[in-house]
């Protein structure tokens, strides 16, 4: 494929293209170029036949039946992420970091106010590392937290989650980190995911998930972001496996789901209730599941409308 001609195809296809003089000069450089360009433009038009008609906003990908896959982009970006981390670390070293950990027990909610005016609300079973000498940094090691960040473009607030970095741009956002999975939802402002690598901007109403299904961007209802703070869990086509994790964190109990139940999806709002019996008697039928208490005290979510224990 002729790279130069392809460049011109892409340029001239832009609705705002106006550098026709430069295009003329390129064409005049070699009489064969016009034909190459024509052929590629025709190939471009032929592409219509195989373009998937989905809208641009990627749907909540949980219903994506495709085989699990890890995004190539993630690995491609790995070097840059590592480099970015090295940079962060070395800067912090110069400023002498003074790290400390904050953890919450399952079922416990805790609010942290940082010196810069940023507020972090921690859900249950969450651990966070903060730096006394740098109020613009947090590391979410496990669990879930909602960040209401005071924006300072000269000194953006950064949250690291595993090897990913989320950088705020004036923002309220919620991050869940469970096992190897990371999910973020943005309810106000904008967050940039891995600003030095993929640099995916997430404005309010967008979310990002990085789990066994790969790295995906999706729509989220801003009102549903960090809804646990008001005693609700709000879902749009969420897998039950994820909901079980959320319930465990918020209620301080162990919730498991059978493989069949884990793969099911739910859309709706569930009210949290400190009393697990009350909670499941309301929530389980809503999800089309049954919840039974196991001998070890954990709750098991099962498919179907079988008899309740």
């Amino acid at each position: 494929m002729n790279e130069e001609a392809l460049t011109w195809v892409i340029r001239t296809r832009d609705p705002r293209f106006d550098d026709w003089d430069a295009f003329t000069l390129w064409l005049e450089g070699d009489p064969a170029r016009a034909g190459t360009y024509d052929a590629l433009m025709a190939a471009d038009a032929d592409m219509d036949a195989i373009l998937p008609p989905e809208p641009v906003v990627m749907p909540v990908a949980a219903n994506d039946a495709g085989a699990p896959r890890r995004s190539m982009l993630r690995w491609a970006g790995g070097g840059a992420i590592a480099a970015a981390l090295v940079a962060v670390v070395s800067v912090s070293m110069m400023n002498r970091t003074d790290m400390y950990s904050v953890t919450t027990r399952p079922g416990e909610i805790r609010t942290i106010a940082l010196d810069d005016g940023t507020r972090i609300e921690m859900n249950g079973d969450t651990s966070l590392r903060l730096d006394r000498n740098n109020p613009r940094f947090a590391a979410l090691d496990a669990g879930e937290a909602a960040f209401t960040v005071r924006h300072d473009s000269a000194n953006p607030f950064r949250v690291t989650v595993g090897d990913a970095i989320f950088e705020d741009a004036g923002t309220v956002f919620n991050i869940v980190h469970a096992g190897r999975d990371t999910r973020i939802g943005v309810s106000e402002g904008k967050v940039v995911y891995n600003p030095d690598a993929e640099a995916i901007a997430l404005p309010a109403g967008r979310g990002l998930a990085d789990d066994a299904e790969g790295l995906r961007v999706m729509d989220v209802a801003p009102a549903s972001v960090a809804s646990w703070r008001s005693g609700r869990l709000v879902y749009a086509n969420a897998p039950v496996a994820q909901m079980a994790q959320d319930m465990s964190r918020s209620l301080g109990i162990v919730v498991r789901a059978t493989p069949q139940a884990s793969a099911m999806h739910f859309t709706g709002t569930i009210l949290l209730d400190r009393n697990p019996d009350n909670f499941f008697s309301g929530a389980a039928p809503l999800m089309g599941l049954t919840a039974t208490r196991q001998s070890d005290g954990a709750w098991l979510l099962k498919e179907g409308d079988g008899p309740k224990s």
Binding site: I10, D14, P15, A34, D38, A42, A49, V56, S71, V217
Partner: protein, 170 residues
């Protein structure tokens, strides 16, 4: 024709002629320019916000049409020569069930190719190629540089054109 556009056409006639020649129109360049003039007169366009780029775009489209009809004619003649012959049916006419299945399968393949490029490349390509959004706007939307958008588009185009080529030779 709006007087503004007419004046701009006349003022840029030599540049447009040069462009058509560079585009491979050869001796037909003058005639094509005349066609353009007639089309502009017949259409009675309202005010055009960017008249000169509009005229270039029109000239470029004329050349693309020419290329398309010449390759179509070649293909038809070839079909005749090979005895496949006859009138080519409009591909959008009643499609046989097998053809529909093949189309579905191809859409699936294309979907997979796009997905494997990663979410940002896929998003940028869809915005640009399916929704027709300009690169500058996409760059602003995503908070990335224009160069990044250009590179991602090239990556996506290469992958999709290669796929299309592969399908056509199957």
């Amino acid at each position: 024709m709006a007087t503004g556009l007419s004046a701009i056409f006349m003022a840029n006639r030599p540049a447009l002629l040069r462009f058509l020649r560079a585009r491979g129109a050869g001796d037909d360049a003058e005639d094509l320019l005349q066609d353009m003039w007639m089309k502009l007169e017949a259409k009675d366009l309202g005010p055009v916000s960017d008249p000169l780029p509009y005229l270039y775009r029109m000239a470029n489209n004329l050349m693309l049409d020419r290329y398309r009809s010449s390759t179509r004619r070649e293909r038809r003649e070839q079909d005749w020569a090979e005895g496949a012959g006859g009138v080519m049916a409009d591909p959008s006419d009643d499609m046989a069930v097998d053809d529909r299945m093949i189309l579905q399968q191809r859409l699936e393949e294309a979907r997979a190719v796009l997905r494997d490029l990663g979410p940002r490349v896929e998003l940028i390509f869809r915005r640009f190629r399916i929704e027709g959004v300009g690169q500058k706007l996409i760059a602003d939307e995503l908070g990335v540089s224009l160069t990044t958008v250009e590179k991602d588009l090239q990556k996506a185009y290469r992958a999709m054109l290669t796929l299309k080529q592969k399908m056509d030779t199957e």
